[in-house]
């Protein structure tokens, strides 16, 4: 039987080390909502979400009360909207109507974000996909809870550089349209390479077409628990350091697995995956960078950071994979600049710059995340940063993403303030040299060779 020490350990993780279930995300297929008129699509989409997710928030609250573990967010991901609107949207404004419908449905069922205003264009774009991408700035400005993502590359098909170029413009326009709120629209827009279709985390969640009609994914999180476990074992060698991280990740993931199964049973919806990402929040003690400091670097970004992060990410996976048979989504350590107070402090101290962040993304999920750059950064430069990150994902067969926020009216030394879970971010410098000629080229970077690995 369970003993007092075990009960106290679990409850200390919850009450003092910020262990929580970060999100229960319901994936809903909208493929059966396709119709010839935008009005009909909107009506079907609204009805389906209202029906399927009617009890999602209440179920999350019940689980929270009975197990005593906070379930922070309840969210929804839907089929990429470019596929749903392709049959009826003739103008960008038609897609924006669908975005507003998603926003209303999200508000009415009580979820704080709905993801899937997305297009998957790794090889090329259909007219509908181009329209959707062009509608993103307006859609994000006109809605509150809708999240957009665009998959522009993959290991199997290469990088669609026409889409990369377009995304530089779209990100800039999104920033302009939401400049009153420090360009917050860009915080809800992710550019991916190798996007997973079962990701429960925003802003990049969408419900892939290979999934069931409705499915429950869960994202757990406990960077504070890992940090605490390392803190009590200061002089550990690498073997026991890794052992500690694995055991902790196992425990955290088991909670996610339990909650996912329970939510699935209560909602009578199949269980999909547990995403075992270490996802920080701006709260002190809930930070991935604090773990890196605990492993032994003065600030995230100091020499050794990439090695420490590689170790951390790998051990989290090793521990987590034993805890759940269905691990999926992004499943790595998130290193956002704004949502992690110790990352923000590292940037302010001058320890962390864009180039080091890029290096760190080679060894962990997910990419350049929530990074504020000067508002006057050129569109081609944004595209260049995206292209670099996509190349890392394509060559290394991993998911990479870019969530850049060119903060209109602000420059290096200023701070962008987004509030809530998104936190605040110092505006950091971008390499000033040009990549216009590269970005102006048309077409696709071919898929890489899958042999001769070096």
């Amino acid at each position: 039987m369970i003993n007092l020490l075990e009960v106290n350990e679990t409850n200390q993780m919850i009450s003092q080390e910020n262990l929580d279930v970060r999100t229960i995300t319901m994936g809903i297929s909208l493929l059966d909502c396709i119709d010839a008129s935008t009005e009909a699509v909107c009506e079907k989409v609204y009805r389906k979400i209202r029906t399927k997710a009617a009890r999602l928030v209440a179920t999350g609250q019940e689980i929270e009360a009975e197990f005593g573990i906070p379930v922070v967010n309840k969210r929804i991901s839907v089929t990429p909207v470019s596929l749903i609107g392709g049959s009826c949207c003739r103008r960008a404004a038609d897609f924006v109507k669908i975005a507003k419908t998603l926003d209303q449905a999200a508000k009415d069922v009580g979820v704080n974000f709905i993801g899937g205003y997305s297009a998957l264009v790794t090889k090329g774009m259909t007219p509908a996909e181009r329209l959707l991408i062009e509608s993103i700035p307006e859609a994000l400005a006109a809605t509150e809870r809708v999240c957009a993502s665009v998959n522009v590359g993959s290991t199997k098909s290469g990088i669609n550089m026409d889409a990369v170029r377009l995304m530089g413009t779209v990100i800039h326009q999104t920033a302009e349209k939401t400049k009153e709120a420090d360009s917050i629209g860009c915080a809800k827009l992710v550019v991916f390479c190798n996007a997973p279709d079962d990701n429960p985390f925003m802003a990049g969640a969408f419900h892939g077409v290979t999934q069931e009609d409705t499915v429950i994914h869960v994202g757990v999180s406990g960077p504070g628990v890992v940090r605490h476990a390392l803190h009590v074992n200061q002089d550990a060698d690498f073997e026991s350091l890794c052992e500690t991280i694995k055991k902790t990740a196992f425990k955290i993931t088991r909670v996610g697995q339990l909650v996912a199964k329970e939510a699935s049973r209560r909602l009578n919806v199949p269980f999909g995956i547990v995403d075992l990402s270490l996802a920080p929040t701006p709260a002190v003690g809930d930070s991935v960078a604090e773990i890196l400091e605990e492993i032994g670097v003065e600030y995230a970004g100091a020499p050794g950071t990439t090695a420490a992060l590689a170790l951390l990410n790998d051990q989290v996976k090793k521990g987590g994979i034993m805890a759940s048979s269905y691990v999926g989504g992004l499943s790595g350590a998130f290193i956002p600049l704004s949502e992690d107070h110790a990352m923000t402090e590292a940037a302010l101290a001058g320890a962390l710059n864009l180039e080091k962040l890029e290096a760190m993304t080679c060894v962990c999920s997910v990419g350049l995340d929530m990074i504020a750059v000067p508002g006057d950064t050129k569109e081609s430069t944004i595209s260049g940063i995206i292209a670099d990150e996509m190349a890392i994902g394509m060559i290394n067969q991993k998911t990479t993403a870019v969530r850049l926020i060119p903060v209109i009216g602000k420059t290096v030394g200023d701070t962008a303030r987004f509030g809530g879970l998104l936190g605040e971010a110092p505006v950091i410098a971008v390499n000033p040299f040009s990549c216009e000629k590269l970005i102006a080229r048309k077409g696709t970077i071919p898929a890489p060779v899958h042999s001769f690995k070096n």
Partner: protein, 90 residues
């Protein structure tokens, strides 16, 4: 069997166990195991109980015990056993 873990934490005082046990007996909740320690005047107790024959629901029990705890300056928490077994048992 529907096992619930009840934890009680706070400054030690007379009658903590009596109060919790009385409530459980009144509502047909069977106690399977009790363990407790006192560290630096802090009372720390865990009970494993079975709610299979209980005449109250989980929510009501959790709320009533929480209130009873607050009156005595204690934190009383009820949680389903599975959160602990899933984390600590393979």
């Amino acid at each position: 069997m529907k096992k619930i873990i009840i934890t009680v934490v706070g400054l030690d005082t007379v009658g903590i166990i009596a109060k919790v046990c009385t409530y459980l007996a009144e509502h047909q909740i069977n106690i399977l195991d009790i363990s407790q320690t006192i560290v630096a005047d802090y009372f720390n107790m865990m009970m494993i109980v079975d709610m299979a024959k209980a005449d109250v629901g989980f929510d009501a029990m959790a709320e009533n015990l929480k209130k009873a705890g607050e009156e005595m300056g204690l934190i009383i928490r009820c949680q389903r056993e599975e959160i602990f077994t899933s984390m600590h048992r393979i």
